[in-house]
Symmetry: C2
Subunit: 431 residues, 2 copies
C-alpha cells in the first residue's frame, strides 16, 4: 500500500520522540487562564484571560525556536524557516479560545500539539524544505461577536467580514474595535484588510483536534483522518410582544415573546429530525428573554440557532423551514419577528488528497490504526480549505464530550496524535 | 345610600385640595433613581438606587411632618400621631422597588400618594383620632431573592420566611445578609424576628395603586375599589442534561435541557388555558439556559413560573398539572428534573367591609364614579389582610400597561385617587 514511500527510514516511531508529559503540562498551565473555576475553562476573545493565553502561546513558540509574528486580528504565527524560504510553507494550528464552561482540550491540543510536533522534528535533526508555521487562530468560537472561526475566516478573505465586524457589538454593547483596543490591538479596525492571505500562500494546512464525537473512542481507534467538514449555518432570531404584568394581563390578550421563542426552539428540533438523516443537527444554544422577571410577561426573546449537515442542500432546506416557522409563529402569536438573521451559512469543505495521503502514510508508518471520517464540528480548517489543501487529524476524547468541563483526551492518545502530525508535517514540508 | 354619614360636611371636594403637580414632581424625581435609562425604571432591593429611593421617601415623609422609623427589613413608617395614640392606627402605603425595565407609577403612587393624602388632610386642619401611618414596604417585587411582598410578608409573620431568607442568595450568589449589609442594614439577620406585627396592630390598612389592568380606563371610570386579591403561586424549575458540542452530538443521543424548558413553558400556557377561566393566568417570566453558547447543546435550564387565580383550588390544580408535566418532560427527554420548588402559594385575600365601605363613601362624597373589582395583581395588601382589615383603591393606567417603561397614570386620575384615599383615611381614623 505504498507505506514509507518518501518517508526517511530514520524517522520511524523508534526515533521520533514526542514529549507527551510536557504537552500535558502545557495544556494544564494554559487551562488556568479561565474566567470560570477548574475543571471548566472559559476564555472569550480579547478578555484578560484570552490575552494571557496568547502571551503563553507566544512564549511556547519562542521556546521551541519559532519566529513569532501576529496579524491585525491577533492570529499568531510561529515560523520555522525552511531551506527554501520563498516557496509556500506548510501550516498547522488551531485555537485556544473556549466557550463558557468548556474544557481544556478543544483547540488547545492542535496549537500546543503543533508546537510539540516541531519540537519532535527538531530533535531528530529534521530540516524542512518548505517553512513550517504553527498558527493560533483568533476566536474560533463565536461566543463574543457571533462569528465562528473569525481569524481563519478573515485569513481566507471571507466576503464582507471586515465590514460586518466593524459594526459588531457584544452582548454588553462593546464594539469590536473597543474590545480589540482593550486587549491591546490598538489600530485593529484600520488594518483588518491586511489579514487576508492569497490562495496558495500555504502549500498545505493540517489541524490536530479532539474528535468531539464518540466514534474513535467507541471503536478503540486512536487516529481519525478527516476527509470533509460539515457545513455550519448559524441564525439569530428575535421576537417582540407587548409584555405586561403577569397577574393583570389576561391570557387571551397576551402576545408572549418568550413562548414564541420556546415554540421556535422546538420547531428547530422538529425540522432537523424531519430531514431524516442523523447527519443533520440543529441546536438553540442561546435563548434569552427580556425583561426576565417572574411576574412580567416576556416582551422580547432572542435565540441563536446552529444548523449543520454534511449535505449543504439538506441543511439549507432546514434553515428555510425554520424561517417559515418563525414567520408562522409570529403571525399566530401576534408578536413581531424583529430579527431573522443568517449570521453565516458556509459551504462544507473537502480535505486535500495530498494532505489526507500524508496523514495516512504517517499513521501507517507509526503502526497506528486509523479511520477516515467526516467532521461534524467545524474548525478553522473549514476556512483554511479555501486558500490551501486542508486536512485534519482527530484523536479520541472521553465519551465524545466537548464544550463541557469534563472534556478529556488521554496523554497516550494526544501523544499518538502529535506523532502522526509530526510525520505528516515532515512529509508535506518535504514535497 | 347613606352618603356623608359620619363625614364632616366641611370635607367635601370643595375644600379638600390635593396638590397633584407636587405629587407628579415627586414621582418624576423618584424615577431618576434607576439602574436603567428613562423612561424605564429598575430599582432592585438593596442596590444603590433602592437606598437612594428610601432616603427620598424618608425626606418626603419628614417634609409633611411625619415621624419616621424603619424596621429591621427596611420597611419605612411615617407616623401622624392621633389624638388617642394608644389605640390601633390606620395604615396606608405601598412599595417603591421596580422590576427590570419597569415604569414609575407601580407602587410609587401608593407611597407618595399616601404622603399627599396626609398633606391634604393636614391642610384642612383635620386631627385624626387614630394615628395614621404611611408605609413604604421593602421589596414588594420578587426580583432579587424570589419572594414577592417581602416586607409585608414578614410584617404578617409569614411561616418560615425569616429562616428561608437567611439561606437565600441572589442570582450573583450574594446572600441576603450580605446584600442587606451592603445597603447599610448591618444587623438585619439577627433582628428579622422583630419585623412581625400582632394581629390588630392596625385597625385598617388601605393601599392606593394603579390598576395594572385595562378595565377602568376602558370604561372611563376613575376609581376602582378592590374587594379581593387573586392568589399567586410562584415556582422555580430546573432541568439538567448532558450538553455537548452542537455539531458533534447527534440528535438521537441528545438530552437538551433547553428544549425541556421550552416544552414546560408551553405546557404552563396549555394548562392555564385548560382551566377554562380567563381569571387563571400563568407566565414563565424567567428562562435561562446554561452554558448559553450558540454551538453548545444546553446542559441546564432554569425557569421561574407565576400562576394566579381568584379561585385558589383552580390555581392549585394548575400548579399540580405543571408539576406532572415537568416530570413527564424530564422522563421523555431523559433529562433530570433538578428542581421543582414552590416558592410561594398564597391564599387570596378578601377586603374588610369597613374599609370598602369607607372608600365607597369617599368616592360618593367626592362625586366620583367607581366600581368594585378584583385585583389580579398581588400587592402588599394581600399580606396586610392577615393582620388588619384591608382595602385597595385603584386608578386607571394607560392601556392597563404595567411593568413596562410606558406604564402611565394621568395627573388627573392620580389626584382623584389621592382625594378618595384622603377621605377614606379620614373616615377610618375617626372610627
Ligand atoms: Mn469548540
Ligand atoms: Mn475546536
Ligand atoms: Mn409590580
Ligand atoms: Mn405594585
Amino acid at each position: 500500500e505504498g507505506i514509507c514511500n518518501g518517508i526517511d527510514v530514520a524517522m520511524t516511531e523508534e526515533t521520533l520522540f514526542v514529549d507527551g508529559h510536557r504537552l500535558q503540562q502545557q495544556i494544564d498551565q494554559l487551562s488556568s487562564f479561565s474566567d470560570t473555576p477548574p475543571p471548566s475553562v472559559t476564555r472569550i476573545l480579547f478578555t484578560g484571560n484570552d490575552v494571557a493565553a496568547r502571551r503563553y502561546v507566544k512564549g511556547a513558540m519562542k521556546e521551541v525556536g519559532l519566529l513569532v509574528r501576529e496579524d491585525a486580528i491577533g492570529n499568531i504565527f510561529g515560523r520555522w524557516e525552511g531551506s527554501i524560504p520563498r516557496i509556500p510553507g506548510v501550516a498547522s494550528g488551531s485555537h485556544t479560545d473556549a466557550i463558557p464552561y468548556a474544557g481544556k482540550y478543544d483547540g488547545v491540543v492542535g496549537v500546543l500539539g503543533a508546537i510539540a510536533a516541531v519540537r519532535a522534528l527538531k530533535r531528530i535533526g529534521f530540516q524542512p524544505k518548505r517553512s513550517i508555521e504553527v498558527i493560533m487562530f483568533t476566536s474560533e468560537e463565536p461566543t463574543r461577536f457571533g462569528f465562528g472561526c473569525l481569524g481563519s475566516r478573515m485569513m481566507a478573505n471571507s466576503t464582507n467580514i471586515v465590514e460586518i465586524l466593524k459594526e459588531s457589538f457584544d452582548a454588553e454593547n462593546v464594539s469590536f474595535a473597543e474590545a480589540a483596543k482593550e486587549a491591546g490591538y490598538l489600530d485593529v479596525a484600520d488594518e483588518l484588510e491586511t489579514v487576508a492571505l492569497d490562495v496558495g500562500r500555504y502549500s498545505a494546512f493540517v489541524e490536530l483536534h479532539i474528535e468531539q464525537g464518540p466514534i474513535l473512542e467507541k471503536k478503540g481507534i486512536p487516529i481519525g483522518i478527516v476527509t470533509a467538514i460539515a457545513a455550519p449555518a448559524s441564525l439569530k432570531v428575535g421576537f417582540k410582544g407587548d409584555g405586561g404584568h403577569a397577574g393583570a394581563v389576561l391570557m387571551p390578550v397576551r402576545n408572549d415573546a418568550g413562548l414564541a421563542g420556546a415554540e421556535l426552539a422546538l420547531s428547530v428540533e422538529k425540522n432537523v429530525l424531519a430531514s431524516g438523516s442523523t447527519d443533520t443537527v440543529g441546536t438553540t444554544g442561546v435563548f434569552k428573554i427580556h425583561p426576565g422577571a417572574v411576574n412580567s410577561v416576556p416582551r422580547e426573546s432572542h435565540l441563536e440557532i446552529d444548523i449543520r449537515d454534511i449535505d449543504e442542500k439538506r441543511r439549507d432546506k432546514v434553515v428555510d423551514e425554520i424561517k417559515r416557522s418563525a414567520h408562522e409563529i409570529a403571525g399566530r402569536r401576534r408578536v413581531t419577528l424583529t430579527n431573522f438573521e443568517i449570521v453565516n451559512q458556509d459551504p462544507p469543505a473537502q480535505s486535500g488528497d495530498q494532505v489526507v495521503g500524508a496523514a495516512i502514510e504517517a499513521a501507517e508508518l507509526l503502526g497506528l490504526e486509523y479511520q477516515t471520517m467526516v467532521s461534524r464540528a467545524y474548525h478553522d480548517s473549514l476556512f483554511m480549505a479555501r486558500i490551501a489543501p486542508m486536512g485534519m487529524i482527530f484523536i479520541p476524547c472521553y465519551k465524545g464530550y466537548s464544550h463541557r468541563p469534563d472534556e478529556f483526551a488521554s496523554l497516550e492518545d494526544m501523544t499518538k496524535g502529535v506523532q502522526v502530525l509530526s510525520l505528516t508535517l515532515k512529509r508535506l514540508s518535504s514535497l
